[in-house]
Subunit: 352 residues, 2 copies
């Protein structure tokens, strides 16, 4: 299949540092190439890919000081549309920006919504474009925009060999993420304290969260059971997760997909997560971790963590959250859009 | 002619408070309606116009807390394009956002660039869209983007009766604008001090300029010859200008068009302005004010201010910067775009 992947330009594909969306696009693109498809990636010029790269900005926009990043994303649309007839399908990862264009040109597109969609400003545009095919990264993500044309949910996936199963022999739990009010590292610290276990925290502190950190978190990092590692690299993260007894994920928002939860499963490490957003879709309660409602339940879950089989965690990752599965799921959505008549047939036979 | 005016949605048309672009769109729209054209205005729903209003957002976006103002501007594009065949010409005031769309649909558009264009990020997009017709608001504005398809310069205009000529009998000069490093209110204060005349300052202090104000300006406002009025309304501004001996406009940046300079001329008040950006196009040196290079020249100009005829200032406003002239100039550009063959004829006869 001739596939265009259209990535945001803020980070390279894959990103040098952070950049959730660009990372997923990288995994998907490489996997589609591996499976023999003809893939073109529209991304920043410092991207590294086995697909054909159409460079838009010379470098990732977030690395340098750009006053007007939108200009490059509009330029990107033009570069895509000039080549539209070279592709069977255009897969956008840049939200609604292309909608009026794709609509009027009757292009076959699919758009993965990577960010939060619980923003009132989005309602009018998804009402207007209620037939533009969009993909959710979890079923839970859809709730605020029921009028959108959700054609499927495809969970993010990681390459099978990116993380290896560890034995969780370190006598600690871990927390990985940003230090921000909705991630609730304070809860994680309290859970570990009540369960009487050490917690290792790997997290970046964004500028916007500096005040929150100073006021609410800094003093907690001085507690004797807490070790703060700051920002860590991929290798350190793999080690941290592989040796952890569990990952704590006590979020306080409807996170559409927590990448770190599947990284943890890839390491065989169970996840103790609050029941918010996509959590109950990713974690199978009692099998790959525990889905909890409060600190008491989380502490109890942590005490029972040895009842979770680390092999089962890894197996869940391999069967549900590998890049291979992700690519396969996207390909079947591409097929569905390109051959809607097949979908109808399938629908009929399912009703028979 | 069937004309669409596409305004930004940040402020209503006209704006309740500030909002340079929306204000110009309002004057242009009303004038085109007055001249008998069939005008449709795409703007925020709280806009007030004699044209047909297509409301995009219910209210101006800047008034309420909008996380994602871009969503409304993309929605606006769709609303415009669905009706594109109802118009002879689409006049955009929203920068490059529509370019890929208008380009692929072969629409007759014209785009006034209201903001600063000396931003490196804009170069690739204007290279790509080097044949999209754009209008400068001064010749000087064009310098950083020589590759754009500049089809004309149209100066901003004000309704003839918005300001009345005053006699400049107040023994003061005035400064009107934001308190920001590039507006150089400090220079204005120093010019007035050396010329031994009072200065009345009407200015808003944006959040982003608060630190600059505290550090560099606040102490100057305590000088005996300085009166700081804060933000003022339209009526107060008219009075302030009408009674001023001169307007000081000692800018330190390539301002593409200084609205306050033509407001001043409309009041018959000469302008002493630094030779930057559009200044020498707007002010006729020795006739409607003085174009100066430094404080010494500005002080000298101020001493000679009685040599400027206030009737000549008002006349310059009426013949060059009225909304009527502005609309006339835009109409001739619309004609040129709709009938390019006429342009060639005119070009031939001009060479004969």
């Amino acid at each position: 299949m001739r596939i265009a992947q259209i990535a945001p330009l803020y980070e390279s594909v894959p990103p040098k540092l952070y950049g959730g969306t660009e990372r997923v696009v990288a995994y998907l693109t490489e996997e589609l190439v591996n499976q023999g498809h003809d893939v073109t990636l529209f991304a920043s010029g410092d991207s590294v890919t086995h697909a054909r790269l159409i460079a838009i900005s010379p470098r990732a926009l977030r690395l340098s000081n750009h006053v007007d990043p939108l200009a490059y994303h509009i330029l990107q649309l033009q570069e895509v549309f000039e080549r539209a007839d070279e592709f069977d399908i255009l897969h956008f990862h840049t939200d609604y920006l292309h909608f009026p264009f794709s609509y009027s040109n009757n292009l076959t597109t699919i758009t993965t919504l990577h960010g939060r969609v619980d923003i009132d400003d989005l309602i009018p545009i998804y009402q207007k474009f209620h037939d533009m095919p969009v993909v959710s990264i979890s079923d839970a993500q859809r709730d605020p925009l029921p009028m959108a044309n959700w054609v499927g949910t495809v969970y993010h996936g990681l390459p099978l060999d990116l993380y290896k199963k560890g034995e969780g022999k370190g006598n600690y739990v871990s927390f990985i993420g940003r230090i921000s009010p909705e991630k609730r590292v304070d809860r994680a610290i309290e859970i570990a304290r009540q369960a009487n276990i050490e917690i290792k925290i790997a997290a970046k502190i964004d500028k916007v969260d500096q005040e929150y950190y100073e006021k609410n978190i800094r003093h907690l990092f001085r507690l004797p059971h807490v070790e703060f590692l700051g920002e860590i690299g991929e290798d350190e993260k793999a080690m941290l997760l592989a040796n952890a007894r569990a990952l704590l994920f006590p979020i306080d928002w409807r996170e559409p997909f927590g990448m770190v939860t599947i990284e943890s499963l890839a390491c065989g490490t169970p996840v103790i997560a609050y029941n918010r957003g996509s959590v109950p879709e990713i974690i199978t309660h009692g099998k790959t971790g525990y889905v909890v409602e409060n600190i008491t339940e989380a502490v109890k879950a942590l005490r029972n963590i040895n009842q979770i089989d680390r092999d089962e965690c890894r197996a869940s990752f391999e069967t549900r959250f590998s890049a291979t599965i992700m690519a396969k799921n996207y390909l079947s959505l591409y097929e569905k859009l390109l051959h809607p008549e097949k979908k109808e047939l399938a629908f009929i036979s399912a009703n028979e």
